[in-house]
């Protein structure tokens, strides 16, 4: 590695970004919160965080003129990790209070949970397991070496629906409904759960993402 890694956390007006900084600091890696396109372009890895609505998220990016910047970084296959809303807006469109265009980095849409059995409540708040698609493996992904008993923290009402199965990295079941809890396309990752809030399991994912960047840089 020729220089210290720089992680840029995109600040587009949504969410608590401080625990993310601390998660990277935990591994001795510097992370900056920024809305400056130049800093994003120079960074080794990008975190697209966020909680809130799809529309507000996209509007936040557009107001700051970052929509094209992030699309271009993704085209160059720069490592990007979208978290929660940050993962959702990477898809083509969001169906939340209307239909809104997303970044379209990964083809697919974001929809509300269907009606669930056992009267499970939406939002889905709490810890749940993740698993690969049948026949798939997580080797060489940032979920390696996750175990089927490992749990991560979710808080969301809307779910990722990628068009191509190729982009489904992980599945989770809640209220008898199985949904896509993580997506992947090259070095672009998105997870519906919060790795920065998922204890040692989540930290492992952050560490894996750091290692992915190190291997490229």
């Amino acid at each position: 590695m020729s220089h210290d890694l720089k992680i840029a956390i995109v600040d587009y007006g949504v969410g608590n970004l401080y625990s993310l900084i601390r998660a990277f600091n935990f591994f001795g890696v510097e992370a900056v919160i920024t809305e400056d396109a130049k800093i994003l372009e120079k960074a080794d890895g990008i975190i697209l965080p966020g909680v809130g609505s799809f529309e507000a998220g996209m509007r936040g990016l557009e107001i700051r003129g970052l929509t094209e910047t992030i699309r271009n970084l993704a085209k160059d296959d720069k490592p990007v990790l979208g978290i929660c809303l940050g993962a959702q807006i990477m898809l083509t469109e969001g169906h939340e209070f209307g239909i809104f265009k997303g970044l379209d980095i990964i083809k697919g849409k974001v929809v509300h949970f269907p009606i669930l059995v056992d009267n499970e409540k939406v939002p889905h708040i709490g810890w749940n397991t993740i698993s690969p698609r049948k026949g798939d493996s997580w080797s060489d992904t940032i979920l390696d070496p996750f175990d089927k008993n490992d749990q991560v923290y979710f808080v969301h009402s809307y779910i990722l629906e990628p068009e191509s199965k190729e982009n489904i990295l992980a599945l989770t079941t809640y209220g008898n409904h199985t949904f896509c809890s993580a997506v992947k396309k090259g070095n672009i990752y998105g997870c519906q759960f919060h790795p920065e809030k998922s204890g040692t399991v989540g930290l492992k994912l952050i560490e894996n993402f750091i290692n992915l960047i190190k291997n490229i840089s």
């Binding site: 935990f26 909680v51 708040i125 709490g126 749940n128 923290y153 808080v155 204890g199 040692t200 930290l203």
Partner: protein, 253 residues
């Protein structure tokens, strides 16, 4: 069935974690930073951190103390105490909180709930209720750490707060708090019977059986626990093992 969350609660006064009994007699438990980290490592699913005198004294909670507590804790933390503005919420989030618990201020300014929800999303805003049973059998919401009557009936107040967009309910039974006598099942049942959002029970956690009862009978989504963990009567692991043996899903680390 989903996982039931076990959430240790830290009541903060000055630099200490304290434990009120029915919100009055306070005992000092220890150092918030140490205790929070201990619970994080012991398998807590989330933490609740409440400055119990901030509202009463009309001041903010200690952001520097909160920062030192949330450092190196990678589970969700709900924080409350003296929050009166969007600016306060920003400060609390910047100090490492994920969710905000509000009680005193919104009792007088309920529309602040929708203002906060618009800004931060429902998932960030937790309605904190201190419920006391009245002579006629109804429950009234109290403020300022169980000292002041609000004039609001608990069920009506929760319904209104849900309409205003609150994302979760933290319900403390003032009558049960610190007694280790079991949660107020009757009150919790009334709430979970209609609430479309998660309910965190608090006040009265005692033997592991009492935790089970709150889940099985009152159908709560999460269990707030303080005394029995603070005094090392049961550990988080003891509680989770017991619940798991009784076919209640929990996260085991």
């Amino acid at each position: 069935m989903k996982n039931i969350r076990i959430i240790p609660r830290l009541d903060i006064k000055g630099p200490n974690v304290v434990k009120p009994v029915q919100t009055e007699a306070l005992r000092v438990i220890g150092n918030p930073k140490k205790l929070a980290h201990h619970y994080y490592e012991a398998g807590a699913d989330e933490l609740i951190y409440l400055d119990i005198v901030a509202s009463l004294y009309g001041r903010n909670l200690d952001f520097d103390l909160l920062k030192s507590v949330t450092e190196n804790i990678f589970i969700p933390i709900t924080v409350g105490g003296g929050i009166r503005s969007i600016h306060d919420i920003n400060n609390v989030l910047r100090s490492g909180a994920d969710k905000i618990a509000i009680n005193t201020y919104v009792v007088k300014h309920p529309n602040f709930i929708s203002e906060a929800v618009r800004e931060f999303g429902s998932q960030c805003i937790v309605l904190y209720i201190e419920a006391k049973k009245q002579l006629d059998g109804s429950y009234e919401a109290y403020t300022d750490g169980g000292r002041e009557k609000s004039g609001l009936e608990v069920i009506d107040w929760i319904k209104k707060a849900i309409d205003l967009g609150v994302g979760e309910i933290l319900l403390t039974s003032v009558d049960k708090d610190g007694t280790r006598d079991g949660y107020d099942i009757e009150l919790l049942k009334k709430i979970t019977s209609f609430s479309p959002i998660p309910v965190i029970a608090h006040g009265g956690a005692g033997k592991p059986e009492s935790l089970k009862k709150a889940v099985m009978e009152a159908k709560v989504d999460a269990l707030g626990v303080s005394s029995i963990f603070h005094y090392n009567e049961y550990s988080i692991k003891d509680s989770k093992d017991y619940l798991q043996k009784n076919n209640i899903n929990v996260r085991i680390i």
